[in-house]
């Protein structure tokens, strides 16, 4: 039989077991706290994840992207140098050609008029100059904009092409007026003359843009140079091989092909979202 005191002691012991254990237990060390905090990090992260509810929007100072703004931005990047060099070259061309002798006065032995020879060369040089983005770092920075990166490059190139074609068109007009003023003996066949330089220039531009997006600037300029040489060889073929009508048709086809290539590269430039660097 148990003594009543023993029983009371047992009850007391049972009642105090838990409080005594808790009183004797050491508080957690800094290391243990750190360990616990470390273990809880994913849970803290999840709480932060849930708390990040604000929607992402354009900053108020950022204007929405537009092709017009992009073209204007890219034009201003190079405009001074290109305006000056274009003006100098085409002014020289206009002055070199004697209005009384007509457009072939400077180039009786050349396969085409000086205009048609110089304009594509000027275009290639201008594109090479304005490409600028040789450095991968700059290329990356210019690609992190609201615009697709190739659209930025396309806009830059198209402003250069427009500038060169614009200068050539203006000079053709001035020259036409000079020849018209000069008298009846010398006449400028304006349509065929325009077609002659516009055909090769647009096709050169189209080839450059097509190759630029696929293979890079070196191949693009190389491809354009090969086209230029082939075109000169074509021009050297006499009228017994290539009649005036065939030549006109070929130049019109070149112009159309160039315009199509430019349109194609515009469409591609909108679709490629990241630039290979």
């Amino acid at each position: 039989m148990n003594h009543p005191v023993d029983n009371e002691l047992k009850v007391l012991e049972a009642q105090l077991r838990d409080p005594i254990r808790r009183a004797l237990e050491l508080p957690p060390s800094p290391e243990e706290t750190a360990l616990l905090l470390g273990a809880l990090q994913p849970e803290f992260d999840q709480l932060r994840e849930k708390a990040s509810g604000k929607a992402l929007t354009f900053n108020p100072e950022v204007k929405p992207p537009s092709l017009g703004r992009l073209l204007s931005n890219q034009f201003r990047l190079n405009h001074k140098a290109l305006m000056l060099s274009g003006a100098a070259v085409f002014l020289m061309l206009v002055l070199l050609i004697d209005p009384k002798a007509g457009i072939d006065s400077m180039s009786p032995l050349l396969p085409a008029s000086l205009f048609s020879l110089i304009t594509p060369l000027m275009l290639m040089a201008s594109i090479l100059f304005s490409y600028r983005t040789w450095d991968p770092g700059m290329r990356m920075i210019e690609s992190i904009t609201p615009y697709p990166p190739f659209l930025v490059l396309f806009s830059r190139m198209i402003t250069v092409i427009a500038l060169i074609v614009g200068w050539a068109g203006l000079s053709s007009l001035i020259m036409g007026i000079r020849i018209w003023i000069a008298g009846e003996d010398a006449r400028l066949p304006f349509g065929p003359f325009l077609l002659e330089w516009l055909g090769i220039t647009l096709l050169t531009a189209g080839i450059i843009m097509e190759l630029l997006f696929r293979k890079g600037i070196g191949t693009a300029i190389g491809g354009a140079a090969v086209l230029y040489v082939l075109w000169i060889l074509f021009g050297m073929m006499g009228p017994e091989h290539v009649t005036f009508q065939i030549r006109l048709a070929a130049e019109a086809a070149m112009m159309a092909a160039g315009a199509l290539l430019l349109l194609g590269s515009y469409s591609r430039s909108r679709k490629i979202i990241a630039m290979g660097v």
Binding site: R48, L56, M138, I141, T145, A274, V277
Partner: protein, 295 residues
Amino acid sequence: MRVNWMIRIEQVEHQKPSFTLNIDRSRLFSGITLLVGANGAGKTTLLELLSTVRIPEKGKITYQGMEAASHLPLIRSQIGYVPSEIELYGGMTAEKLLRYLAELKGVYAPSAVRNIIADFRLGEYAKTRIRRLSQGQQRRIALAQSLLAEPRFLFLDEPLNGLDAEERKLIIAYLVRYAAERIVVACVHELNEWEAAADRVIWLENGTICFEGSAANWKRNLPLKVWTGEVSADCFKALPLDRMIHFRPADHSVYVRFAAYDAPAEGLDASEPTLEDAFFIRRMIVKNHDITLCK
């Protein structure tokens, strides 16, 4: 109230010639996150993916829940990026380049460029052609351009390269303020100067994340302790170099910072590890697989 921005990386895989970046899951929050790791660990590749310069071959990265592929103009308008090496357009002046890049990002207000020129103390050189500026000045322009549109997400690849000590302090102080409500991820090699600035650390090793968490946790639970103090030249010679974190010759002794479980020599005291100590110790373990070090 502090706005908590978040970038979520899910099962991203991206092949590089020497390694494959493979990140199962990662989260980036407002504040400064340091991206650390040895050369070739995948830090730059991760920054390029985050900044949308490259698109991951597999997996996805979302910015505040938006995927880059479907909201690219918006997300790119909120990204600033500084590559580790960059040759700015040398023929332009700093002001012209910043204005050009600001407009490209959609920022047309002249005050935006003026303010950033003032913030980065570029006023004196704003009208000078970039090719005539020093490396440090060019680096400041590179940093300034990344902040032109006040992006929510800023990715910096070795941002302090080429800067002197004073410039480094100023840039870090600027970034701490900037990161209060934005995500700043900086890939760095020199960790000590970021000691007070870093909120989180991501450690990459061979294309995978070995640690991701708070800067405080990065320094906790290390398998080795850090011992510092001065030892004699003979004692210094006896210490294994692969566990040496730092040493500096003193008058008749050598000041050392050494990683070991127990005190390796007389006169060395246990110290609190810094961010850089933690990196060295974690790297030691990975390189040597030396479990005995940890006891």
